[in-house]
Symmetry: C2
Subunit: 155 residues, 2 copies
DNA sequence: CGCAATTAAATTGTACGCAAGTGAATTTTG
DNA sequence: CAAAATTCACTTGCGTACAATTTAATTGCG
């Protein structure tokens, strides 16, 4: 290997602009989604992260905090207070696993399960707001999955 | 218009899964980016949102808080405390605009300007972590811009 | 001109996200 | 089997995000 090799490639100035950062495109689109969801989710009394947790639970009730965290890529420091609020709103209940007392099993209440009927309204509204074809959605989803997997592996 | 029309289209169960939500793909990729940036930005003492503000200022120093907010799509509620921290770290200074005393002009200090030399190292490292071709990056960036624009217009 | 409406930034209050640390339960090891 | 290491959830502290309010300055309108 040669000595004195530049540690970094030269990056064109244009590529250094905020607007041209891929990370910023992802960051600002994430915020745009949260804002688009807000008026819809306000009606059912959920925040956007709470809605994601509900999606996980509607797929499978009776999940440990850790399992929910793995699906959402969030740790208990984020989930514990969020789940406490969902519990206070009567959507979920939390019980210690009798087989392994370290774990807390989160499950839907009747009220939480009933809220699943809102899913079609919510997703239709967001689909409209996103305003792209199912094909485009799948393309972006696929590209982001690859990107996310690279970023996660790199750390 | 016919009466009794269904308000919402039927959405296939598979499309209702957390993992298949486009919003979740964006949400989790944004977090993955933040985590990938963390070890790199820790070395220069910046958080990820602070880095975005610095990018805006490296492009053009002497900007009002509102102008920065428009580029990042953030309001003063978020920016005020963030800028206060950048000022405490000696990277920027804030002065009232004498022409319009309502505005605060943010400008780079020598230390803040000097930090721009880290840009190549940071962007090269993230490029490696993202591990996709320049072509893919541009594709995703373009698709996300369209998506963001739709979502914002819808609200 | 003079007052109402608007604008800019800061502040307050709520809710994430995440690092770091705590405490209790379980698993691994010597 | 007992001590050490690990695991799980919770808590604490800090830094965003954002709605809503406040204060000060400027603009618009009669």
């Amino acid at each position: 290997m040669k000595a004195h090799l530049a540690k970094t490639m030269e990056i064109p100035e244009e590529e250094k602009r905020l607007e041209n950062q891929l990370c910023f495109a992802v960051y600002s689109t994430a915020h745009a989604f949260t804002r688009a969801y807000k008026p819809i989710l306000d009606k059912v009394g959920l925040t956007y992260p709470q809605y994601l947790v509900m999606l996980a639970l509607w797929e499978k009730s009776e999940q440990a905090v850790k399992a929910i965290g793995e699906q959402l890529d969030l740790d208990s420091g984020t989930l514990s207070p969020l789940l406490k609020r969902l519990e206070q709103n009567g959507l979920i209940k939390r019980t210690r696993d009798s087989r392994d007392e370290r774990q807390v099993i989160v499950s839907l209440t009747d009220k939480g399960l009933a809220m699943r009927s809102e899913i079609d309204t919510i997703m239709t509204a967001i689909g409209q707001a996103a305003g792209c074809t199912l094909e485009e959605m799948k393309t972006i989803r696929g590209l982001l999955r690859g990107l996310r997997s690279n970023l996660t592996a790199a750390v």
